[in-house]
């Protein structure tokens, strides 16, 4: 499972040295490789290790393809508007490919220490990518991102080592899902202490409250493609690692000790999102708080288990596709209006840029959980799954209440971007670029139909995944 990662690392290296005229071809080649790898899984040429890994790899490959497609015209326009040097563009593209390689590693690797290395690589590469615009905001955001998430990463490393050592497992057995049956636990206290440390560490990487303070800054200041990939893939990757680690640890200590942590952080994340989302005037910052909400929902689903866990894994895809659409769309807004703030000139989007405005309206309807869009189905599974368990019903009802608050906050704020307040003035239309719109239109198809369509299209994998998840102790 190291080959796909090596291919991406080699291509990243090539991106640093390739002649200027060929620079656009390396990301295009990567798109083709992702496409081929998806096709390969479809026809059975190769299989990632287990249904969870296959599912997450599919999400990573699909979202990465669409993000790279959007990245090309976006980068050209961004570089033109802000006078990026060719060297900066080259570094950006090369490190972006390394970042994607690390996300693929998170999906495919199985050893917990190698998974830690993969998510660390994702963090360090994305810290650089967040700082690329070189604005004061981007520098501040990347500094905070580095300090907070690296501290979290080291907590995750120590926690992982202590918990797995406490289980009495040799290093060779520190793999996802290799243990069957119950183990004679050597030191349960150490397992629990380590598990909590790992939870805190990976929660920091995932942006779960109260370890989220880096996230709104990093997501709002990064280039749009990076915000999309961070929100859609990296956050989910971090929470997926801790879920898989808990899958092993729950064979040694009671699963409810671990599930309570996921439920607690999930609910706290919803509280934070509900408290802040209604006050945002920057589009990207609003979607950043929405990311805290949705990663909180995924954490809740993993904590509830059962049907909710199936919903959580589906939400990894539905959230990634919706949020990629929204962040890329917000990037287009910044390019077209030179800002994404509704209290500046980013308003009247439906009139001045109807395609961009319509995609924003569509993405918003989806991300707040309206049917029939994709996130509705996964949120439904999470909430129904929680409600079906008497011991989790109270937490589930609180989560529903918080989702209503978030829904109201976004609905109240959104007209500020979509329409122009006050008297209608004849604001001029702005030309929209089809190069920027096309990948977002494809994403819109997934956002509209992906909640049911993707599990249906990938029925054999989805069937295996559901059976696998329903057996999970976490």
């Amino acid at each position: 499972m190291i080959v796909p990662v090596i291919i991406l690392v080699v291509l990243a290296g090539i991106q640093f040295v390739v002649p200027r005229a060929l620079m656009v071809w390396v990301p295009r080649f990567v798109i083709a490789i992702f496409g081929l790898s998806l096709l390969g899984i479809w026809v059975g040429w190769w299989h990632p290790p287990g249904p969870t890994a296959t599912w997450f790899f599919d999400v990573v490959a699909l979202i990465s393809m669409l993000a790279l497609w959007f990245s090309e015209p976006y980068l050209i326009e961004e570089a033109r508007q802000h006078d990026w040097s060719i060297k900066r563009v080259r570094y950006y593209q090369g490190i972006l490919l390394l970042f994607l390689g690390s996300l693929v590693a998170v999906a495919l690797w199985t050893n917990f220490l190698f998974l830690w290395m993969a998510i660390e690589t994702a963090t360090l590469t994305s810290v650089y990518l967040v700082s690329v615009p070189n604005s004061r905001g981007a520098i501040e955001a990347s500094w905070r991102y580095l300090l907070v998430t690296e501290a979290g990463g080291l907590a995750a490393l120590v926690g992982t080592v202590i918990s797995l050592t406490g289980m009495g497992l040799p290093f060779d057995a520190w793999h996802v899902g290799v243990i069957t049956g119950t183990l004679p636990v050597v030191h349960p206290q150490w397992v629990l202490v380590g598990a909590l440390m790992a939870l805190v560490g990976y929660a920091t990487k995932a942006g779960l409250a109260p370890f989220h303070n880096w996230l709104p800054d990093a997501h709002s200041e990064a280039p749009a493609t990076i915000s999309a990939l961070l929100s859609g893939l990296k956050l989910a990757g971090a929470i997926l690692i801790v879920f898989r680690l808990f899958g092993v640890l729950s064979q040694g200590i009671p699963a409810y000790d671990l599930k309570d942590g996921l439920i607690g952080l999930g609910l706290l994340s919803l509280v934070v999102a509900a408290s802040f989302v209604a006050f945002q005037r920057d589009l990207k910052r609003m979607w950043a708080y929405s990311s805290i909400e949705h990663i909180g929902l995924i954490s809740l689903g993993m904590g509830f288990g059962g049907i909710a866990l199936v919903g959580a894994l589906l939400h990894v895809f539905t959230h990634a596709s919706s949020k990629t659409l929204l962040f890329q769309n917000a990037g287009s807004v910044r390019l077209l209006y030179r800002t994404s703030r509704s209290d500046q000139s980013a308003k009247g989007l439906l009139m001045r840029t109807p395609w961009t405005g319509s995609l924003l309206a569509l993405g918003t309807a989806a991300i707040i959980g309206l049917p029939p869009f994709a996130p509705f189905w996964s949120e439904w599974l999470i909430l129904v799954g929680g409600f079906l368990q008497p011991e989790n019903r109270v937490w589930d009802i609180i989560a529903m209440g918080l989702l209503v608050v978030i829904f109201t906050g976004v609905v109240l704020r959104m007209p500020g971007w979509l329409w122009t307040p006050g008297k209608k003035t004849a604001l001029p239309r702005i030309n929209e670029s089809w190069a920027l719109l096309s990948p977002n239109l494809v994403l819109a198809v997934f956002v509209i139909g992906g909640g049911i369509g993707v599990p249906w299209l990938m029925h054999p994998l989805w069937h295996h995944l559901v059976i696998h998840l329903m057996k999970s102790r976490v």
């Binding site: 190698f114 004061r136 520098i139 300090l147 501290a151 080592v161 200041e221």
Partner: protein, 213 residues
């Protein structure tokens, strides 16, 4: 474990712990750099003790840690005079005393954690846990970019030692990876500290807080 090994474990563990505390209090970038080197020697010493105990492959790790953390990282973090503190996070005797008391409190917590049954080397593990907590305190106690940078690198070194003390030797590829991360973190810290200095004309992160809400 032989007597000499035990003594060297305690010696190097204590070195890491003391460096983690003193690095919070120092006023200049140069002093922090010297303390970080001492801490790295402590980590290498723990590895060397294990190597002497039979894990001969760990001599490679000792060399790697010395090369990366004693030579290369301090070189990357070698900043010009702008990085010297403009103000001091724990000003005056009261600030200093409070910081020491907090460090002591966290050390006691670490030692208590180390005493939980079953783990090998409970004292060393407790001391390293203490140092680990103290490094987290450092991250929230100081405001200068250079001091925060050293705090993160110190946390990285303490974590490396803690991992080995808790679980024994880890595979070579992982040790290389962990050191590579320390190196990359140092590069990013130096790069961003320089950008903060250039864009905000400060080394104090409190002056770089434009993003709120």
């Amino acid at each position: 474990m032989s007597g000499i090994e035990m003594i060297s474990w305690r010696l190097f563990g204590s070195l890491i712990w003391i460096s983690a505390i003193v690095i919070i209090l120092v006023k200049t970038h140069q002093s922090a750099r010297a303390l970080y080197r001492l801490q790295a020697i402590g980590e290498a010493g723990i590895m060397a003790s294990l190597a002497l105990g039979g894990y001969t492959v760990l001599w490679l790790d000792v060399a790697l840690i010395l090369a990366v953390k004693v030579v290369v990282v301090p070189k990357i973090m070698k900043n010009p005079s702008w990085a010297v503190a403009r103000d001091y996070g724990s000003k005056g005797p009261v600030g200093l005393t409070v910081m020491l008391l907090i460090s002591l409190l966290f050390t006691v917590g670490g030692l208590a954690l180390g005493q939980m049954t079953g783990m090998r080397h409970p004292l060393i593990l407790g001391l390293l846990f203490g140092a680990w907590f103290v490094s987290f305190v450092h991250l929230s106690a100081r405001y200068e970019t250079w001091s925060l940078g050293w705090a993160l690198l110190s946390l990285d070194t303490v974590s490396g030692a803690l991992v080995v003390a808790a679980s024994g030797p880890i595979p070579e590829s992982l040790e290389v990876g962990i050191n590579l991360f320390a190196l990359t973190t140092a590069v990013l810290l130096a790069l961003l500290a320089r950008k903060i200095s250039t864009s905000f004309s400060t080394v104090d992160v409190r002056d770089a807080e434009e993003l709120t809400g």
